[in-house]
């Protein structure tokens, strides 16, 4: 353990001993931010922190992030259709349900809970019953049960003309064959089957029939689909398209259009697919060269870290202020190169000792108390 601490201290000392970069005196009149649109939750702390930072300094903040995906509307269509159904406007209810189900098929039921998804089908079955189309109504009841065979309709909420055929559909589906569905996706992606989140790559037992799948991965376009599962097992391997991402060239073009000498380039990314990481760089507009760079974690609760990093990046050094940035330095003269080289060397020397001396690095869990009978 002592050696681990020694190693860590050496690495830290090496990094710290690197000569600090000389800060710039000129204020930064422009901040340009980019974030993957799929990561709006992760991007919010960054936008909040930089927005506040910009407001306090009278700096312009431009967001070049690609436009976010349109919000799912299927839930809204469901609520409208329920209102229409209760007001005996069956045709309007049917239109709303068809639109909602079409969207669910396109997006893999994005934004719908399991009960909302099956409600779309149950209410369409009810509407079709009222319109005299019993055959299609029965199909929708079966589809709804296939999605969630354990569901039972609340008799207080649904009329007997819904609960009785639904119960018959439950009986029929329970006799149908089971299938094993696997959705292959990277571990950090969110995989949702029929409105329920599941683990990527884990086999799920499902009934034969239609199922809704969507997969959300940071920096990737949503994969959503409706699949017909037949046969004992089915593997879905989603194809993900990368989102178009603004580049530094886009930032430079924007900065030149604004007529500023330098700007702060803030780029949110997920290097390991999970952790939102913000790279802040001070860019010289005329040469396009990077003067300074800070990398900070950017998840929720990191607003102060982000604002602090931005402030450090743009604030002039009280000891040595340069009035102009000067020519770009050769890469081997940059302090961070020396810092990383030193840290790598120290790690290479000390790590074998540290690893060799460590005791257990894991533990076990055993649950007791009121365990299953």
């Amino acid at each position: 353990m002592t050696r681990v601490i020694l190693t860590t201290c050496s690495v830290v000392l090496c990094v710290l001993s690197a000569r600090p970069e000389i800060a710039l005196a000129d204020p930064v009149p422009l901040i340009i931010v980019t974030a993957p649109s799929a990561a709006s939750d992760a991007a919010k702390p960054m936008l909040d922190a930089l927005g506040r930072f910009a407001r306090e300094r009278g700096t312009v903040l431009l967001d070049l992030s690609p436009a976010a995906d349109p919000k799912p509307q299927a839930g809204r269509h469901l609520r409208r259709s329920i209102e229409d159904y209760q007001a005996f406007r069956f045709q309007s209810a049917l239109e709303n349900l068809d639109v909602g189900l079409a969207e669910a098929a396109r997006t893999g039921a994005l934004g719908l809970s399991p009960s909302e998804l099956s409600d779309l089908l149950i209410y369409r079955a009810l509407v079709l019953t009222e319109l005299g189309d019993a055959a299609r109504a029965w199909d929708d009841f079966v589809r709804a049960v296939v999605l969630d065979p354990s569901r039972r309709l609340d008799t207080a909420r649904f009329p007997p003309r819904a609960t009785e055929p639904f119960a018959r559909a439950v009986k029929q589906v329970s006799q149908a064959a089971d299938s094993e569905l696997t959705i292959a996706a990277p571990d950090h992606c969110r995989v949702v089957l029929d409105g329920r989140q599941i683990r990527p790559g884990q086999m799920q037992p499902v009934k034969w029939g239609e199922h809704y799948v969507h997969v959300v991965c940071p920096e990737r376009v949503l994969y959503g689909t409706r699949v017909l599962v037949k046969g004992p097992r089915r593997l879905i391997e989603p194809r993900f398209d990368s989102r178009p991402k603004p580049t530094l060239a886009d930032g430079l073009r924007t900065a030149r259009k604004q007529g500023v000498q330098s700007f702060l380039w803030a780029q949110l990314a997920f290097p390991d697919g999970v952790t939102p990481t913000l790279t802040l760089a001070l860019i010289d507009t005329s040469s396009g060269s990077e003067r300074r760079r800070v990398i900070v974690r950017a998840g929720p609760g990191r607003e102060n870290d982000i604002a602090g990093a931005a402030a450090r990046l743009v604030s002039p050094d009280p000891v040595a202020i340069e009035s102009s940035p000067g020519p770009a330095r050769a890469w081997y003269r940059r302090p961070w190169v020396w810092g990383i080289a030193g840290a790598t060397l120290a790690t290479a020397i000390l790590l074998p000792f540290a690893i060799g001396s460590d005791s257990a690095s894991h533990f076990d869990v055993r649950l007791r108390g009121e365990v299953p009978p």
């Binding site: 799912p72 257990a360 690095s361 365990v371």
Partner: protein
């Protein structure tokens, strides 16, 4: 052979044992709807870092197998999750609070408890030391324990429910007997109690600071000093950890008159000791009693929304105003006027900074009627809008509102339109697409309750205590859906 045996023994003697964390499963009674094991055909045990969806280690365990998980890497703020499944569907769930197991920090001697029950069900929980607590206060400590204190009828005890141990502990503090007081918790776990009256309706002109945190030497603490005499006032804790108290009636005074627009500030000074109450120069634009105060954000200087109440002439106040902490001033919000002037209501901040106004009473003051209409304050527009109506059977006054881990709000118990306690529990959710508040019913409480306390614990469950004198039913625990509880 002998040498091999000796060598193996030596290796075994030199090697360190693998630490073992042994969470203790607590479940509701077998005859309750919340009992988790009925119909469960497999259990999923997993360990993950708090807040992360991806597990460090997990195992699917069928009936009869031991609940064991091996080779979990050391880490801080780890959570043990346990899911019960029926045909692959998750129907029961429970988790521990955060635990740390590292080379330097071994599993705690008091093994953490894990409350496992059916999802969206209430189960009877451990019995408190002080049964029948009505009109008391409850709040959560930073590490997720619940503190219950005070109450009508001269209850002066303070007790703490620790989800790590699954039990209550009566603390060695006795409060000054008072009712109609206001409690404001501080970020470090201490809490301030202001105002109220004793059993003879005499004002209690002191404030108390209670410190029920575990590990406070030598035991839990209570400090008392002079404070304003108030009743039917309101308080809010600001981001800088000071407390602002506004309005109320200076006793003696009826419910319908004598409200004050004055405001006081409380903060800790040198030595972490509460400074004397400071009456602010600024006053509210309207005198108010039985109003609400809701902080609109978590950033330094976040405004506090003040809504409703009864004015100094006994008329209900429709206009809302803001307390601006950085300016220490009160400002009317142009156009922010309640459709239903009300008092004795509840207000809760929803995602996005919206504030939902629930229940309360509306004029005439001589014969007040409960309000079922919901109203929603939009902090960007600075306006109220109608947000629907609570269904029949819902609690309209003396209910509790608790934020669920998934961002929705749990409305539990209270007095209905006829003034009778109800067992109804509703969930309110702000629809981010159309901005409407969806209200849906969930599992009811075992017994009707009003003027009870509700606290969200560190494992995401909701503990409700008091508000009833039904024997053996003092405390219930709600198991919300697993979303947001990782």
């Amino acid at each position: 052979m002998k040498r091999v045996t000796v060598a193996l023994l030596l290796i075994a003697a030199c090697g360190e044992g693998v630490p073992l964390l042994e969470p203790i499963i607590d479940v509701p009674p077998i005859d309750s709807d919340a009992y988790p094991y009925g119909g469960v055909d497999e259990l999923l045990v997993s360990v993950a870092r708090a807040g992360e969806d991806v597990s460090l280690q997990e195992a699917l365990i069928s009936a009869g197998q031991s609940l064991l998980l091996s080779e979990i890497p050391f880490g801080e703020e780890l959570v043990v999750h346990l899911s019960g499944r029926s045909s692959g569907i998750e129907i029961a769930y429970g988790r521990t609070c955060k635990v740390t197991v590292t080379a330097d920090e071994q599993p705690p001697d008091d093994e953490p408890h894990l409350y496992l029950s059916r999802i969206v069900k209430w189960g009877i929980s451990a019995a408190p030391s002080e049964p029948g607590r009505v009109g008391g206060h409850g709040y959560a400590l930073p590490r997720g324990s619940a503190v219950l204190l005070g109450g009508n009828g001269g209850i002066t005890s303070v007790e703490r429910f620790d989800p790590q141990t699954g039990s209550f502990r009566l603390l060695s503090i006795q409060l000054t007997p008072r009712r109609d007081s206001v409690l404001a918790p501080f970020a470090d776990g201490r809490a301030l109690i202001v105002g109220g009256v004793d059993g003879d309706d005499n004002p209690v002109a002191t404030v108390e600071v209670v410190d029920p945190r575990p590990g406070i030497a030598p035991a839990a603490r209570r400090d008392e000093q002079e404070g304003p005499s108030l009743r039917y006032h309101a308080a809010a804790t600001l981001v800088d950890d000071s407390v602002v108290v506004t309005g109320g009636i200076i006793p003696p005074g009826g419910q319908s008159g004598g409200a004050t627009p004055a405001a006081w500030s409380f903060r800790f000074g040198a030595g972490n000791i509460l400074e004397p109450a400071l009456q602010l120069d600024a006053t509210m634009h309207f005198a108010r009693a039985r109003h609400s105060m809701t902080r609109l954000g978590d950033e330094l200087g976040a405004d506090v929304l003040i809504v409703g109440g009864l004015g100094d002439t006994g008329m209900a106040v429709k206009e809302a105003e803001l307390f601006r902490p950085l300016r220490e001033s009160f400002e009317l919000v142009a156009g922010a006027t309640l459709t239903h002037a009300r008092w004795g209501h509840a207000a809760v901040r929803l995602p996005g900074g919206f504030v939902l106004i629930v229940g309360g009473l509306q004029p005439p003051v001589s014969d007040p009627r409960p309000v079922a209409a919901l109203e929603l304050y939009d902090p960007i527009q600075g306006q109220f809008s109608s947000a629907g109506t609570l269904p029949a059977g819902a609690g309209l006054t003396d209910l509790t509102i608790t934020e669920l881990p998934d961002g929705r709000s749990l409305l539990a118990g209270g007095l209905d339109i006829n003034g009778q306690p109800v067992a109804t529990v509703l969930i309110a959710r702000l629809d981010p697409v159309d901005g409407q508040v969806d209200v849906s019913a969930t599992d009811s409480l075992a017994v009707p309750r009003a003027a009870h306390s509700a606290v969200r614990l560190c494992d995401g469950t909701i503990l409700i205590s008091g508000g009833t004198d039904a024997p053996g039913q003092d405390t219930e625990r709600y198991n919300p859906p697993p979303e947001g509880r990782r």
